[in-house]
């Protein structure tokens, strides 16, 4: 039970901090997806060229081959420096990359892993469908085998950056016999293939981060299948377990900084009584203190998770605890901001802009839905951690 970082790790932290300070992007991040693509790729390229991409990725794929703890250090410093979330690189770095490393054939690894780290390509996800949300395994986008190709037709939804992506981790149904978990195939889809139609979905906050993707007889080489045909469900499950792994670390650091900004805001603004500063209101002060306490505990929980993973070598179902707590907390903090703002919260300000509390509030509704709803996480915790009967 210790919080000691070794001399090497402390050294590493100093280097990270210095490097980030010196190399972080100075120009404002664009808001259109195409601009974000170029911006995020350029920043990823900078990290790669500086030798900072893929802290815990094996060196053979261009990573640093360091430990989970070094990766934690990186995420912490990255978050503290107020750097943009990985966004366009998220699926490549946190989904497709780890999945390919553990499940793909060598030539697939050789082709795809380094370009992700090097900021050359954008990946997107093609899992959910309009009829297959929480019940992912009921997906129906179908793929027929035609010679050495899969021919895919159907629809996917909630695909971030689909319109600017190069590759997609795609789940398709290759067989309708047996249980619905069988007959699913995990395949790498080239997003530039003919027959793909991408349409943005406008969301609650007025932004259009997500897309629907339509497939009309899209041809994908069988050599792009990861794992075996019809055996994609277990591959998809490992993809999702990576998502619930350490990927929240940067988000947790950002949330901590959001809470500190809110405390600052409550010190500056007049409170609901129109006289005292908001922080003088006992209820608001306690909610802010509670947020500070909870975000501290969330960090402790992240450390416990990393300690556990470092011992067992794999991310366990405990990731669902972090995901559930984190996403509910993001919502609470966003709500708290609105309560501090009062009528000023009615002014819409995009979350991409500093002070964008109202945009952030609307965005927060996505947190307990995307990446597995809170209800799904509670099922996972009940079934897999507590062993409750189904």
């Amino acid at each position: 039970m210790d919080l000691d970082f070794s001399a090497d790790q402390r050294d590493f932290r100093d280097q990270v901090r210095t490097w980030l300070h010196e190399n972080k992007p100075r120009d404002e991040r664009p808001r259109a997806a195409a601009g974000i693509r170029e911006y995020d790729l350029a920043w990823q390229r900078t990290q790669f060229e500086g030798g900072w991409a893929g802290i815990s990725w094996p060196t053979e794929y261009g990573g640093r081959g360091l430990s989970l703890i070094d990766q934690l250090i990186w995420f912490e410093e990255y978050g503290r420096a107020g750097l943009p979330s990985v966004d366009a690189n998220f699926v490549g770095l946190n989904h497709a990359g780890p999945t390919l490393m553990t499940r793909a054939r060598d030539e697939q690894k050789a082709q795809h892993l380094r370009p992700i780290l090097a900021g050359e390509v954008v990946w997107c996800q093609g899992f959910s469908e309009p009829g297959a949300g929480s019940d992912l395994a009921s997906l129906s986008a179908r793929a027929e085998i035609d010679g050495d190709e899969l021919v895919v037709s159907g629809q996917k939804i909630w695909t971030s950056f689909a319109h600017v992506a190069d590759w997609q981790e795609l789940l398709v149904r290759t067989s309708r016999t047996g249980s619905k978990h069988q007959g699913i195939t995990w395949v790498i889809c080239d997003m530039h293939s003919p027959g793909i139609d991408v349409r943005p979905i406008r969301t609650m906050d007025g932004e259009a981060e997500f897309c629907e993707v339509f497939y009309d007889e899209v041809r994908i080489p069988l050599s792009s299948v990861v794992g075996d045909v019809d055996q994609g469900w277990s591959v998809a499950m490992s993809t999702l377990s990576f998502e619930r792994g350490t990927a929240f670390t940067a988000g947790q650091v950002r949330l901590a900084s959001t809470v500190e900004q809110l405390i600052e805001l409550a010190r500056e603004r007049t409170g609901p009584d129109g006289r005292r500063p908001a922080i003088a209101d006992d209820e608001l002060a306690r909610r802010l203190a509670t947020a500070r306490a909870e975000v501290a505990a969330l960090r402790a929980m992240t450390y416990v998770g990393i300690s556990r993973s470092a011992r067992t070598g794999t991310p366990g179902p405990e990731g669902s605890i972090v995901k559930l707590y984190y996403s509910e907390m993001v919502k609470q903090v966003a709500r708290l901001a609105m309560d501090i703002l009062g009528p000023d919260g009615l002014r819409y300000v995009s979350r991409w802009i500093p002070g964008g509390w109202s945009g952030n509030y609307l965005y927060s509704y996505s947190q307990t839905i995307g990446g597995g709803t809170s209800e799904v996480q509670r099922n996972i915790i009940g079934d897999r951690i507590l062993g409750l009967p189904r």
Partner: protein
């Protein structure tokens, strides 16, 4: 004692409900997103033709002669449809005009010719029978010739043109237009002292009605979705996570509805605890609507997060209404300080 609406009272709003479903569907909000006014002139005139602005104006002044109870039922329907447009301030302004005997203004409002926006005083700003001074938040006021102000001493009508430079503000709610006016020093064109007629309490009851309508619409939307949306081969409503959430929404909607009726009758009959009942109605309805609107997004999952789905319209309108005529903390401070309910 019968707290439920009578058959006659239900009849009064049935035509309005039909009209709203037909002529002011929620989708219209999305369509008019870029327009200066959230509601089109034809729909507004249609409301006037139906007599909605004069529902509680005396018959001799061209109204239907009903009371705040029937108006509350109407506003519940408006809430259900997240109807855009300055209904609340317009209807209250009609009451003000009745109270001060300005028959021309009454007639013009009832006919849908004069629309009245709402203005809220920022901290430090003042209004009295002569002038309004300071900074104002304007709600659906830009296209309206008049704005209504509800200050502690009384209610005022002010000509929008007198407010000086009005700055529009991007609104969280695509169905509500916001603006600010700073450094205002404008004459009051009509004034009703608070003591004469409790216009503010009436406003609270009507705001509560809008919120109750939202709470009910969210309950209904979630219930409908839970019955039809299938996952794991069964409607999602079989899962207690969804079913119990819908049940809690039903509890909140029933609670808000009951207190709305109680408050409306308290105000109409001059019960001594009418202020407590009206403030309670606003607080309880706002809570019900907040909880139900958030639950409705969650029950709809990814679909509930889209612009195309109505779920976000409820969330946003609740936010506007929560901040209208005093927020939760202000009302709670009064509720605990007032004498106990009778």
């Amino acid at each position: 004692m019968d707290l439920l609406p009578s058959a006659d009272q239900q009849d009064v709003v049935r035509a309005a409900a039909d009209f709203l479903a037909q002529e002011m569907p929620r989708d219209r909000i999305r369509q008019r997103e870029a327009e200066a006014s959230s509601v089109d002139a034809a729909a507004w005139t249609g409301c006037a033709d139906l007599g909605l602005f004069g529902l509680s104006v005396p018959e001799e002044l061209g109204g239907a002669g009903f009371g705040v109870e029937e108006e509350a039922l109407l506003f519940r329907e408006l809430g259900r449809h997240v109807a855009p447009g300055p209904f609340l301030s317009t209807v209250l302004a009609a009451q003000l005009a009745v109270a001060i005997g300005d028959a021309d203004l009454v007639a013009s409002i009832v006919a849908g010719k004069t629309t009245v926006g709402l203005a809220a005083l920022r901290a430090g700003s003042t209004v009295d029978e002569d002038r309004v001074r300071g900074d104002l938040d304007l709600i659906d006021a830009v296209e309206a010739p008049l704005v209504l102000l509800l200050g502690p001493a009384g209610a005022a009508l002010v000509e929008t043109g007198q407010l000086g430079a009005v700055q529009t503000v991007p609104s969280i709610d695509p169905g509500v237009r916001l603006a600010t006016a700073t450094g205002v020093d404008a004459p009051v064109s009509a004034w009703l002292p608070a003591a004469t007629r409790p216009l503010y309490l009436r406003g609270l009851v009507l705001a509560a009605a809008l919120l109750v309508g939202i709470a009910e619409a969210c309950r209904d939307a979630s219930t409908e979705y839970a019955k039809t949306r299938e996952q794991f081969g069964r409607p999602i409503g079989v899962n207690q996570a969804v079913k119990h959430r819908c049940a809690d929404m039903a509890v909140q909607a029933e609670l808000g509805m009951a207190q709305l009726y109680f408050a409306a009758v308290s105000l109409a009959s001059g019960r001594p605890d009418a202020e407590l009942q009206a403030r309670t109605a606003k607080v309880v309805a706002a809570h019900a609507a907040t909880v139900n609107a958030a639950s409705n997004v969650q029950v709809h999952g990814g679909m509930g997060y889209t612009w195309e789905n109505d779920a976000h319209l409820f969330v946003k309108r609740v936010e506007v209404l929560e901040n209208l005529l005093g927020g939760r903390t202000e009302h709670l401070a009064e509720i605990v300080a007032l004498p106990a309910p009778q």
